[in-house]
């Protein structure tokens, strides 16, 4: 009985959060860049996430061997950053595509995919804090 109450309360909370997030993403996708409205919308989401990070307590870390097992990822991250910077210095953009250029071309050009990216961005921000 009590468990079902908790489940129902959580379900209600997640539904509300989902509806709010989807509405926010759809609204953001309709806003033009460099406007106050989009700045306030995205800034508000960032402020919420920063508050959650500041309030979160520490979680016990994984085993020590982790550091020895992450260097290929660090190397790849470094290479990707170097490639982005290399492309950024080149022109024209079509021959030297940066990640922003590719994102504009493939996923930010229609409202539906733009809303999808906004919703995904919001969810990632929520998941950062355990």
């Amino acid at each position: 009985m009590r468990l079902s109450g908790i489940f129902r309360s959580r379900l209600r909370w997640w539904t509300l959060a989902g509806v709010f997030g989807a509405t926010w993403a759809w609204w953001i996708s309709a806003q033009a860049t460099f406007t106050s409205a989009v700045g306030i919308g995205v800034g508000g989401a960032i402020a919420l996430c920063v508050i959650r990070v500041l309030r979160a307590s520490s979680v016990s870390s994984e085993e020590e061997s982790f550091t020895a097992r992450i260097w290929p990822w660090l190397l790849l991250f470094g290479l990707a950053v170097a490639w982005e910077l290399f492309e950024l210095r080149g022109s024209p953009r079509i021959a030297h595509p940066t990640l922003s250029y590719l994102a504009n071309l493939w996923i930010l050009s229609s409202r539906l995919t733009r809303a999808g990216v906004a919703a995904t961005w919001l969810m990632v921000g929520w998941w950062i804090v355990p």
């Binding site: 996430c49 979680v59 922003s100």
Partner: protein
């Protein structure tokens, strides 16, 4: 395909390859989900991720 696009394809394939390696040899390489857990587990990792996340959102939608 331009050289620039080819470079990004190589990066994507490298991520896929490392993920596969991490899945087959978990003792040798941390998986992407393991990295995610590691970064979330401490204050420094969380702050770095929130910083990158905030910059990305601002850059994509506000400019």
């Amino acid at each position: 395909m331009t050289v620039g696009e080819f470079g990004w394809l190589v990066v994507i394939l490298a991520v896929a390859g490392l993920s596969l390696l991490a899945w087959r040899r978990p003792a040798a390489l941390v998986s992407l989900s393991g990295l995610w857990r590691l970064l979330r587990s401490n204050w420094v990792g969380r702050s770095a991720m929130v910083g990158m996340w905030a910059w990305l959102g601002w850059h994509l939608f506000v400019r």
